[in-house]
Subunit: 682 residues, 2 copies
Amino acid sequence: MTRSPRRPDDGRVDPLLEVREKRRGKRPGDAYVRIVRPYEDQFSRGGDEGELIATERTVLQRGGWHGALRRIRTTLIGRPISSERESHERLTKVKALAIFSSDNISSSAYGPEEIMRVLALASVGAISLTLPLAGLITVMLAIVTISYRQTIKAYPHGASSYIVASDNLGSLAGVLAAAALLIGYVVTVAVSVSAGVAALTSILPGLFDQRVLITALLVVLLMVGNLRGIRESGTIFMIPTYFYIVIMLALIGFGVAQTLLGNLPAYAAPADWREVEEGGQALALFLILRAFSQGAVALTGVEAISDGVPAFKSPEWRNARTTLTWAAVIFAILFLGIAYLVVSIGIVPDPTEKVTVLSQLVRHLTGDGVILVIAQVATAMLLVLAANTSFADFPRLSSFLARDGYLPRQFAFRGERLAFTTGIVALALLAIGLLIGFNASVSGLIPLYTLGVFLAFTLSQGGMLVRWWKRREQGWRPGLVINGLGTLTTAVVALVVGSSNFFQGAWLVIVLVPLLMVVLIGIRRHYRHMDEALALDSIPEAGEVSAAPIVIVPIARLDAPARQAIAFANSISSSAVAVHITNDPDEADAMRERWPDWAGSTELVVVESPYRALIGPLLAYMDALQRQAPERPILVVLSEFVPRHWWENLLHNQTALRLKLRLFSRPNTIVADVPYHPPRRK
Amino acid sequence: MTRSPRRPDDGRVDPLLEVREKRRGKRPGDAYVRIVRPYEDQFSRGGDEGELIATERTVLQRGGWHGALRRIRTTLIGRPISSERESHERLTKVKALAIFSSDNISSSAYGPEEIMRVLALASVGAISLTLPLAGLITVMLAIVTISYRQTIKAYPHGASSYIVASDNLGSLAGVLAAAALLIGYVVTVAVSVSAGVAALTSILPGLFDQRVLITALLVVLLMVGNLRGIRESGTIFMIPTYFYIVIMLALIGFGVAQTLLGNLPAYAAPADWREVEEGGQALALFLILRAFSQGAVALTGVEAISDGVPAFKSPEWRNARTTLTWAAVIFAILFLGIAYLVVSIGIVPDPTEKVTVLSQLVRHLTGDGVILVIAQVATAMLLVLAANTSFADFPRLSSFLARDGYLPRQFAFRGERLAFTTGIVALALLAIGLLIGFNASVSGLIPLYTLGVFLAFTLSQGGMLVRWWKRREQGWRPGLVINGLGTLTTAVVALVVGSSNFFQGAWLVIVLVPLLMVVLIGIRRHYRHMDEALALDSIPEAGEVSAAPIVIVPIARLDAPARQAIAFANSISSSAVAVHITNDPDEADAMRERWPDWAGSTELVVVESPYRALIGPLLAYMDALQRQAPERPILVVLSEFVPRHWWENLLHNQTALRLKLRLFSRPNTIVADVPYHPPRRK
């Protein structure tokens, strides 16, 4: 079979979507001028040569299946936001206190209870130790707060432990801090949401058995809210945070007054609780340390404000510092107030975890009335929103890590609403997994929580210490002392928490942190190696244009999709060959007979495969062609049928899919998919 | 930016892998001749112009990951078999009896027990009805056997109910028979394997709790055996089938002699069984009908021989008929013999299903010795191999259905060992699902079983009836009478089974059969419509060659993979354009600056995407290009990074994958994947 070589008619379209028009005059020889006409509403012309700017319509305007998905998405998370609007999303101190300190302040709702639960393992009498322990924790909070005020000033663009530790202690310390924080954020979500639901089930005990499902749904809700972006969240946050603060301050004031006046009735826990509790471990130092560890959870919220410095209105660092101090003061009052009242009334924690200590306190002060309901709802809302702090911090930290190559690049990509979509979704999935694994139990989750956060604190404080020492800037001596005290305090707490809670769950963190570090460092090494291997500063010697490909078109039947693939192959090569692999010689003869009418001058090669395999013979055939011209790539043109319904995929293209997977790993091979869209049914 | 259009150097390789050599003489003007040189060991030259024949090496010879998989596969299922060897795989009567009648004969092991179980629901005394019911079932077997002898003669190329019913009663009846049979085959596997494992656990009670796992593993073993192809299976089958026949005949002879002589000791069931059993339902007609239904399972094996007619040695139909008669006679002797002995000894079924009736019988006759173990092992082996009958029939029926368009085409494709791979794997998975769902209980599965098979019997017999009536060939009158009686008998049994077992599980079949029919018919309609829509007899007016494609190369970074994609694009088009979509104007400026050094004369278009979306703006850009030349396809050249390890896929190509999914549904769009294989690490 011979034929004249064909050359494709390679006409040119204008890639900048401009329209060439003649200059006014109609004489021959008039030069063409380019007149910019941006394409309808979809693109405008950029400032530089060869630049177009896409409009919102390019994102929104799609029909069919994708359009429907698009509309669901827009309903859930809103219309896309342009990058330009980012800088407008800054927070006032009042809003920032609500957003960033909800984590911190909300720990006052469960912190005292967690101390009491451990002490109750010794005896009901031991619970009176709650107040001194709460006092100790408050002193430590003061130290950490003062210490962090310095960190915020030193790192006004974001004082995440990851950044501070990387900057001063080296990248390994930074990765350690990052791993500890990532785990800490996931646990924060689980703890806060669990505590929030516990506040609700204290007044609605019927929901207790569904608590895992409810917490998971709340996490999904938080996820959707965060995918919408931070713009609205400030306002949403203010209400429950300030509501909780006001109610709790009022109740504490009322309660303290009543206690001092001796007006409160005596408290009696349900009889069956005592039986469970009176098992009685010895009140050894170890148990006191564990109780302290559980209470130290109250400090974990400090990191949130430091991470969020860039979100404050200018001057960022000064506003952030003020907010941090206020958050610490408010927390201290609530924490100590609640601890004092609970101990002086003599409340004991419910061994079945169905009723929270805080709800018992409110019930004892105000009875089973409206105030109880309001207080519990406010607590629940605050706690659920406290989980939101992690939804702000985890994705931001992930994006820092992705930017530095420690996490997949998707984590650094801002979604349509400027939120870090991948990080938000990853956090929600991990937190839901944890809630399911720990049955949404606050006491079960807390041992996982505190260690990671205090590890990060210690690294951050230690980093500041090194920084002062190296720089010796103005005021470095007092700075060194303050951060030194901070480092010491947080290191001691980390040690106490890690050792006293080791078997309660801290071991899991001690296992997971190094594992996560290995993953982070592995990812970074991979990206680094790839960047080096793939870098290319200028056109290599091989030149600007590859050798022309050898073009083959595997065909199964003589039908319209095959015809389309052959027509495409002919349009880019004058020597494309159709290949038919068959195990039926009769069918091959029939095809060869029809071929000239059906395919014109395109050449057909029939490969008979007596072993009925398709892919093996095709690959062997390609290898044989390749030996004739080792420098030329092989272009395999596949026709693919595009089904109208998803289930039709099961009836088509199975072979093409397997073939593509195999061809993907063959060097010097290019696969072109020519989709065939069937005509609509009559 | 201007440049001279380039034309790809479109050299030609020889698609038939020949080597052109000069004729002896070296003078200029000597014509080239083609000298055929088949490519090493991989291909030989076919008889026709343009034909190559692949050798086994094209299938076997692959390195790396695929090579490793290949080796595992070859170890498990053997080396590929060439299509030419198919006709050698015929069976003698002795082998065929073993293969096709194992299903039938093996029902004697559990048939009597299933009748007794239902009767025992009334009282232990009612169990004596087992013998008359067994007699009735044997009479029916005789009728069905005689009836099927005619079917086999009429359909020597395979007398499957699907074929007989389609041929005479129309395609809907055929599909009904097919659906009933497909379900029946799946249940056969589950029932036989469960009964086989029950025979084993009767002597090894420790395995009882793992019976679901054991049955599932046996199904996998059968699957692997069948993927190896039928060549070896004849020999494997002969041993347990004939072993079982001989042992059981000997035991029955011994038992009957002992009973008549009155030599057997009295039988006493364990005391705790009676307590469970004596609940006592009324011995109404309904219960007797249910007992009969459970026993009718014994007839289900008849279809197997009819299906397998083409596998017999010539003369196929005569050998198949003889084998069918022999199978029926052997089964009748075993079934009646076992039923007689069990009733006369007074054995009662174990309510916990841990010990089979047959094992009790053997134990009572021979004690707890070697003979018991041998008999149980032979029974277990026969039953497991009986499941193999379905592994022969289900894939063959599926291939008929696929050939006629009722099932996906994969079911008609013979694998490397000539077996219908897809059908075998599908059967194994469905059977394992059923075993898990029914906890491998024989009594639980049987109600699902009998109805489907008898439905198919009735359609097949009814088809024969119509055939005699229409053709009036020689001997049509007795033929009509015989098949009429067969139709009547099987229809009555189908009705009895369906109504009496309705709530025990027959309802599931009554729901599943129509559902499966809808699926089968839906698949056929889809294929039909597609064949019509895609058919193409000759080159359409649009011509042999498409319009030259508009070529665009989306690039993310200036790296080696992008360079490779651009070089390929330039090799097939003189006006390929690189498109960079970005949300970072600074980064775009940097790229534009490096561009001339890096890309030579290829044009770059930067699309700024302030909403950070990638796919939307790219699609909009393509639409805009398309309007300039609606008739030209758009070729999108994507560079894809080929990772060395599977997990690296998580770090790359995510965007390319999403993009490809979207482009697949865009009309007139071709996607070319240019894989980049990174250099090895130093």
